[in-house]
Homo-oligomer: 302 residues x 2
């Protein structure tokens, strides 16, 4: 799992500062999380293959999180997309996109599915062979979800040296061994799986929480995740402004990370009022480490 930051700023644009958008890479698949304006330009710039994106997650319907989506969907048509696209977003986005396609006379020639979200509680919205995605209900000025992506345990790895001790284990049996099954010889002897395989790398997990007021009740949901991306629109000095606009401070994001025992924290969604973004990192690191600040084009190994 790798997180690619396409944009990580709040709504007011600065030159060369894109709003929220990121790619979560899982194996050969790319999940797109939020789609601020200019997202498709960033996709090209960082050489992500448009066709590898099948699932798109939109946290909430403020423009800095989705105004780049309609242009991206139009481009998919132009480049001859055939595979289906799934969009998981609050109720309302479907209407916005469909109206624009209607008025621009755009015929989408690939299957496009909207999964409209409105649940107040966490729900599982995607369950594939390799990973699941659940919503993290957040508290903002408008209905908002974060997203929790969990890899499923991978197959065990063959211990080839050990396997070779047993000529009776032929290659057709390997898949069952990787799945954790014991090997049973023709005369009924059991060779325990633990002797023949090694454990897979532990499955990774990622939680995206933006935009939200300080919301400690998400802690149980995101307990022990490997990477938490949490918004930090403000610094603690502007705590009242954060509360009023239902955003978080860097310190509050760090408290969530600490209480959830996450492995690492990345901060994003910075307000343009602060000229020096390292202040976010400094403030958070007094509560939780390791913490980094998101930067456009950054790739974070999970």
């Amino acid at each position: 799992m790798k997180l690619h930051i396409l944009g990580c700023h709040s709504a007011t644009p600065r030159s060369v500062a894109f709003p929220s958008s990121q790619i979560l890479e899982i194996g050969n698949e790319l999940l797109l999380i939020d789609a601020g304006e200019g997202m498709q330009i960033q996709l090209r710039k960082y050489k992500h293959k448009f066709n590898k994106i099948k699932h798109i997650f939109i946290s909430h319907l403020h423009g800095d999180h989705f105004y780049g989506l309609v242009g991206y969907l139009s481009t998919l048509r132009l480049i001859g997309r055939e595979k289906e696209v799934h969009i998981y977003a609050p109720v309302g986005l479907k209407k916005i996109i469909e109206l624009q396609f209607k008025i621009t006379q755009t015929d989408i020639n690939y299957p496009l599915y909207f999964h409209e979200l409105s649940s107040a509680g966490s729900e599982m919205i995607l369950d594939t062979a390799k990973f699941t995605v659940e919503t993290i209900p957040l508290e903002h000025r408008i209905y908002t979800n974060g997203f929790l992506v969990r890899e499923k345990p991978a197959l065990r790895k063959l211990n080839i040296e050990a396997v070779r001790q047993y000529p009776e284990i032929e290659t057709w049996a390997y898949h069952n061994l990787k799945k954790g099954k014991n090997f049973i010889t023709e005369n009924g002897r059991v060779i325990p799986n633990a002797e023949l395989t090694l454990p897979p790398p532990p499955p990774k997990s990622y939680a995206y929480c933006s935009d939200t007021a300080f919301k400690p009740d998400i802690v149980p949901l995101i307990k022990n995740v490997d990477l938490l991306y949490h918004e930090a629109t403000f610094l603690e000095a502007d705590k009242n402004l954060a509360a009023k606009t239902k955003h978080s401070t860097a310190k509050q994001a760090a408290e969530i990370a600490k209480n959830a025992g996450v492995r690492q924290l990345v901060l994003g969604h910075f307000s343009s009022r602060y000229p020096d973004e390292t202040l976010f990192e400094k403030e958070a690191s007094e509560v939780f480490k390791p913490v980094t600040i998101a930067k456009e084009g950054a790739v974070i190994e999970i």
Copy 2:
């Protein structure tokens, strides 16, 4: 008058290649013509003051000409816009923008006026003290207008040396002289205006024609303009594709420029199929000169 190119490419995005958007600078005012995605990022990059834009012209409702508008209008709210904004665009844009403001719960706190266009013929859509804007009906797959901006004649310039020959001409009389009136002394003697003033620089004109099939009947409308921006999505080798998609080739754009006797031609809206954009300039220059190709960030003196 100066033309600032913010973006000049057709719909398929390349990295760092923005779709159609430009600023026409007239005196202290900026007119925004088309608003492709990322337009507000470009405005910041090239340091245009958001507040100087009062009039916005949208040629047609294909996404690469307006998907940047809603984000820009949202930003105006965030930065405390108070002055009114006028949008001249085909019927349909108002509905798109208003739906997005409704669903994103965006309260626009400045006066925003939509002037919806649907006329098949050319019409005067703006008439200010300093300039006028008329539509240029174009032929595309969807209802499309170009825009013709004409400065009004400026005031004449005082010939200060000549004026000083007449002590009886006091400063209160200067404004009437600039307007072209003769000076009449207390005893009724007429001093002709031509003796006291110099002619102003000739008023300038600019025509924006994008997107359009080859359409020779626009020639009388844009006769003798100082600058013509004409789309050239294709090269002549792909003339059939141009006709089919209702776009123009570089050669066709040059023929329009030649027949209209314009002073200079700028080409834009290039398809991404051509790796070398100087081919557009080469092809057009065989028919008409001077011709240049639009580039992001270019400033063209009119």
